[in-house]
Every structure is written in C-alpha cells, then in structure tokens.
Symmetry: C2
Subunit: 233 residues, 2 copies
C-alpha cells in the first residue's frame, strides 16, 4: 500500500472512531484519549491529521452531506422523487453508518462550545432548494411554493423527526417517520400528476441507493469500453 | 408572605436560574455553583427543593407542557385551530420565557447522561393526538389521517424547526418557520372548509394567548358574580 493510501486510511479510521465516540458521549464528554483507544492509532498520527477535538468534530460534521448522491447523478422519474429520495436514502444510511450518526448528533446538539453547526443545515437547504427550483422549471411543483421556504422546512422537520426517533426508540422507526413526513408534505409541494407517481414506500431508500450504484457501475463500464475502443471506430 | 408562598417562590427562582444555565451551557457543562449564584439562594435552600442536578433538570423539562393551555380551556373556531395554536403559542412563549428555552434545550440534547428526555415528546404527542381525535369526531379531519401518526409528525417536525431556527439565527424566525410548517401540513390534515377558516398568520400565537387570558378573566368574573349573588336570584 502506498504511503498516501495509508495516510488516507488512517485519517478515515480516526474520523470513524471519533464519530462513534461523539455519537455515544456528545461533544463535551468525548475525549481524545477515548478516540485514540478506539481508532488504535498513536497520538502523533491523530495530531498529524487533526489539530484538536474541535477540528475532528468539524470533519465529522462535514461527512454528512457527501452521504447523499449529487442531484443529477442518475436518471430519475422526477425531481420530486429526487427530493424524497434524499431523505429516504439518508434514513437508510444513517442506520448503517456510525460516521453519519456522529455527524448528526454533533449537528443537533450545541454542547458547551461554539462549533459551527449551521453548515449541514445550510448545505442540505441549498441542495433541496436547487432540486425544488429545477422541479419548478419542469412544472413539477405547485405554483405557490417558494423553493427556499419549503427546503428549509423539509430540512428542519427532518432533523426533528430524526431527534425524536433517536430519543423515543434509538432510530428504529426513522424510515417510517420519514415516510409519514413526505406523505404529509408532498401534496402541498408537487403537482398531482407527479405526486401520483412518487415512490414513498418502505424500502425506497435502499432501492434508490442500489439504482444509483448500478448507474455508477454502468457509467464506469461505458467509460472503460470507450477507453479500449480505438479512436474513430 | 406566608412561609409556604416563600417556599414556592424560592423553588421557582431556582428553577428559572437552572433553566437559564442549562440553556446557556447544556446539561453536562452546567454546575450547581453557577445555578446558586444566579438564583441568589443558599446551597441549603437548593438542596431542600432538589436533591441533584438531574432532579433539577427533570423539573425544568417538566415545565414545558403546562406552557400550553389545556384543550377546551376556551371557545375555539375549530379543533384544527387549537392544534395550530398549540405550536404558535409555544413559539411566542419560547421567545419570552427562559424556563421554556432551558426545557427545550434539555429535551433536544442528550448530553453525557441518561436523562429521561422522551417525556415532553410523549406529552406533546398525546395532547396533539387527543385534539386530532376530537377533530376527527367533529368531521374536521380528512378521512385517511391517523391521529397518532400525524401527531408524532407534528411534534417531531416542530422540534426540528425549533433546533434549526436556534442554530441558524437564535430563534429570531421561529414563528415564521412554524407558520411555513402548518401551511404545508394542514392541507393534508384538515378538510377544506376548516382549512379555509384557519388563522396561521403572523402574530396568531400572541392573539390566541390574549384570547385565552381574556376567557380566564371572564370566567373568574362570572364565578365572582355568582358568589356575591344571593342564591335563587
């Protein structure tokens, strides 16, 4: 393994260990000692990548948005399906990925410090606004909808059902709560013909993720084929 | 002032001081010393009322639900207006009452400990479910609505817009966010004739609270009149 690959892997294991500790203890109670023990790296290695607990926390927070595929990364039935998929994919991934859970906890709790927790809220809102604006251009969105207002509402409401699901039953019912959210909201957002075709059913997050992975493989294969085909053929 | 009144006032000032400290620092970082200094009471007085920081925190958390008038405490246009008013009154009171802000922060953050934070979520959900069930009996609610699902969604979503508003601009826009929430949700909950009569406009929280206070005064005056009127007249 090249030196650079090793550094990337070390950084990633520190990040994942930190996320687990932040998720379990919260920012204030988490210690570098505990993160070191869990990551099984030396103090030197940790401080090579992250100067402080705060820097680690910010890196964990930043890991949240890349968990969602970029809009337009795959063919979708509608922009409104893309909007719903963002939330359902995130619900699905959150149950599997401790890095995301750590990120979410840091975002939703302010603790004793002044971490910049607004970044993910703003990032999610911008992404959702973009999808709603594109949906509006395609005629998928009801005329009275203000994309930035609806986007902020979805992001805020989603954060809340996430917290509540975590408090009440350790996120066991997060997907169901997300489905109830979209079932209530989307009739006030999407035009009826788009609404009738939306998939908000259980398992949609996992299915959408599989579709995206298939699209990525297909596109990589297509690229590879182009590379081995002589030019002009 | 009677001894008992003094004890009630002391308890209340400790509770309010604790709420401010919890709101500023979070549960983990808050100290009894700081709460004592702010409440201007002796250690003995504090421990007479509350055995520990945890007991104080639980009492602050419990202060949340009584902030909302009991359903049926005043004449309302509709049960759906009562449902909306719960959220708009709470938004209004949250900006004025540090005790509520402390309670909300403790509810939404789990910190290093295992405080029972689910109580307010369950309390709000039960209250909202009750209003939706009554609304359903009166024909105000769309047929497909499951009261407990919709109640849980409203409570979770509300908690989230509260957190987001706090993170992004110290709750300056909480009322606006609550209005956007109800504008999006209520068309999926209330029948059109009830929907058309809902007041979800700015200032509704303050107006509803004034209505309730007027109803209380009127009812107290009516009681007083009955008391001074000789029986049989």
């Amino acid at each position: 393994m090249a030196k650079q690959d090793r550094a990337i892997r070390t950084r990633q294991s520190i990040l994942e260990a930190a996320a687990v500790v932040f998720d379990e203890r919260g920012y204030d109670a988490a210690t570098i000692t505990e993160i070191l023990a869990r990551a099984e790296v030396t103090k030197g290695a940790l401080y090579f990548h992250f100067a402080s607990k705060e820097e680690l926390a910010l890196a964990v927070i930043d890991a949240q948005l890349p968990a969602i595929p970029e809009p337009g990364e795959r063919p979708v039935l509608s922009k409104m399906q893309e909007l719903v998929d963002m939330g359902l994919i995130f619900a699905h991934r959150l149950l599997q990925d401790p890095l995301l859970r750590g990120s979410v906890r840091l975002t939703l709790e302010h603790g004793g410090t002044s971490l910049h927790r607004s970044t993910p809220f703003i990032g999610w809102t911008d992404l959702s606004t973009q999808v709603l604006v594109e949906g509006k251009e395609r005629g998928e969105v009801l005329p009275h909808v203000v994309p930035s207002d609806t986007a902020e509402l979805i992001v805020g409401a989603y954060a809340g059902i996430n917290t509540m699901s975590q408090v009440v039953n350790q996120r066991a019912d997060l997907e169901r709560r997300a489905i109830v959210l979209y079932e209530h909201l989307m009739p006030s957002v999407a035009v009826p013909s788009v609404l009738a075709r939306l998939d908000i059913s259980p398992g949609r997050g996992a299915r959408a993720l599989a579709e995206i992975e298939k699209a990525r493989v297909d596109s990589a294969e297509a690229d590879a084929t182009r590379l081995v085909t002589p030019a002009g053929v």
